[in-house]
């Protein structure tokens, strides 16, 4: 039961992060005028946002919100329904798998972990798309997207840490380490 005492915490720790993820999906679908090979950079940044918000001791964004954001991305990109939803769920799953260890990590270790995660997600995404078309598709845009997200990860981590007050949640949490 959500009472008035816990309502601000619920809003901050569940609803706002979910809206943030959905907002990043909308921003990624805007006509920024990026070149053809750079089309995956912004969607990969959304993947980074989901990773950061899911990799704590308790995920800030619920799994249904991650699924809904992926589905929204599928609707907006005219791709097959379920593709980006699977990518987002996979990111969430990887983040939840490493979450017990992140309490003792420096931010740079989390960065390396994200690089591994985006590589796994990227290969899975390419494989899924190639399976859908029954032929290998061009992997350059996906590689560029993964590299772009990996480079942007520290900025995303810093912004989300400040935005959602992550360094106040736990005393030994990774977010409290100065960047």
């Amino acid at each position: 039961m959500i009472d008035s005492a816990t309502r601000p915490a619920v809003v901050r720790e569940s609803i706002l992060p979910s809206l943030f993820v959905l907002g990043s999906v909308v921003i990624a679908s805007m006509p920024w005028g990026l070149a053809g090979n750079a089309t995956f950079i912004l969607p990969s940044c959304t993947v980074a946002v989901i990773f950061v918000l899911s990799a704590g001791e308790r995920p800030l964004v619920p799994v249904w919100a991650v699924f809904a954001a992926g589905l929204a991305s599928d609707f907006l990109t005219a791709g097959p329904l379920g593709y980006w939803a699977i990518i987002h769920l996979l990111t969430y799953s990887i983040a939840r798998m490493v979450s017990p260890q992140t309490r003792h990590w420096q931010w740079i270790v989390l960065w390396v972990c994200f690089i591994v995660a985006i590589a796994v997600v990227g290969v899975t995404g390419w494989g899924l798309a190639s399976l859908y078309f029954l032929r290998p598709i061009d992997w350059h845009p996906m590689l560029n997207g993964a590299i772009g997200a990996a480079i942007a990860f520290p900025v995303i981590l810093l912004v989300l840490t400040r935005l959602f007050g992550l360094d106040h949640r736990r005393s030994r949490a990774i977010w409290s380490e100065p960047l």
Partner: protein, 309 residues
């Protein structure tokens, strides 16, 4: 001695199991949706059209600041290259003034020849201008969403252009939003003519920046920098819409470098072009336009008997 779960441990274990089960269910739902999308289920198509219709106001508002940012960036780069840009524009203006005179002269000759041949005048095309409000590019499609739909009398299959040339055609039309598939999309096939000789080919997209020219024969006279434009065959596009220039592909064959910068489209014009075949069907109703040829082995009618003299 068997260890019994304490009540606390079982309570913490149950939410985790439920969370894992829910995650598994979501993965299963995603797989089902993927399979249904592959099969082209109508329900998904209708759901997608409904979603984009509802999302139109949000996308329109959200894309406005993006448009301003892009214009600011373009303006800044123009200022940075100010002098060089002015010189380039002056030279281009001179060339265009010469071509303007040529075009008017050819137009007069064309009108005279049309009168001599008693040719059919092609009607002028009406169009509506729309703004790109979402860039829907991914591993599967190269498309954009524009803020015009059935409310502006747009239909499926209408050609979409801008000042530089052909962009693509409408593939889904909602009430106030349409999806435009670009000419470099994997599913795009456009009948074209190439060069002064008018060599016929099909422009095939592969999600790359430059679509391929296919169904060319070895003895076709196609050269680098030949102009490519729509042929009008099939009735999907009107004839003569400029597309791009021929470039040699790595390996065998040719690709086309589009005139339009497909990643930087802001405003488009949707041409109201209904193919002559569909127009004729509307006029004749249910009558078939194809008349059956007489049966090959039908007995010929005997001529009226005449007395041999």
């Amino acid at each position: 001695m068997r260890r019994r779960w304490s009540q606390d441990e079982s309570e913490t274990r149950r939410p985790k199991d439920r969370g894992g089960q829910f995650l598994f269910v979501l993965y299963f739902v995603c797989t089902i949706l993927l399979v249904m999308s592959r099969l082209g289920h109508d329900t998904l198509r209708e759901a997608r059209a409904a979603f984009t219709d509802y999302a139109t106001p949000v996308l329109e508002k959200a894309s406005l600041p993006v448009t301003y940012v892009r214009r600011a960036v373009d303006r800044a780069s123009d200022y940075a290259d100010g002098v060089a840009e002015i010189d380039r524009l002056k030279a281009e203006n001179e060339r265009l003034r010469h071509w303007e005179w040529q075009a008017k002269r050819l137009e007069r000759r064309l009108a005279q020849m049309r009168t001599l041949l008693n040719g059919v005048e092609e009607p002028a095309l009406e169009f509506v201008t729309a703004r790109v409000i979402a860039d829907a590019r991914g591993p599967f499609v190269r498309s954009v969403l524009v803020n015009a739909g059935t409310a502006q009398k747009i239909k499926l299959g209408y050609a979409v252009i801008n000042a530089d040339g052909l962009i693509g055609r409408t593939v889904r039309v909602g009430e106030s939003i349409s999806r435009v598939i670009m000419l470099n999309d994997l599913n795009s096939r456009i009948p074209v003519l190439v060069g002064p000789a008018g060599v016929r080919a099909i422009l095939t997209g592969d999600n790359g920046p430059e679509p391929r020219l296919e169904f060319l024969s070895d003895d076709d006279n196609v050269y680098e920098d030949d102009e490519v434009y729509t042929s009008g065959h099939g009735g999907v596009f009107p004839r003569g819409l400029r597309i791009g220039k021929v470039k040699p592909a790595t390996g065998k064959g040719f690709r086309v470098k589009p005139y339009v910068r497909l990643s930087q489209i802001e405003y488009v014009s949707v041409l109201f072009y209904d193919s002559p075949l569909s127009q004729a069907k509307q006029i004749s109703g249910s009558q078939s336009l194809v008349t059956k040829p007489p049966a090959l082995h039908a007995k010929a009618e005997r001529p009226a008997a005449t007395e041999a003299r």
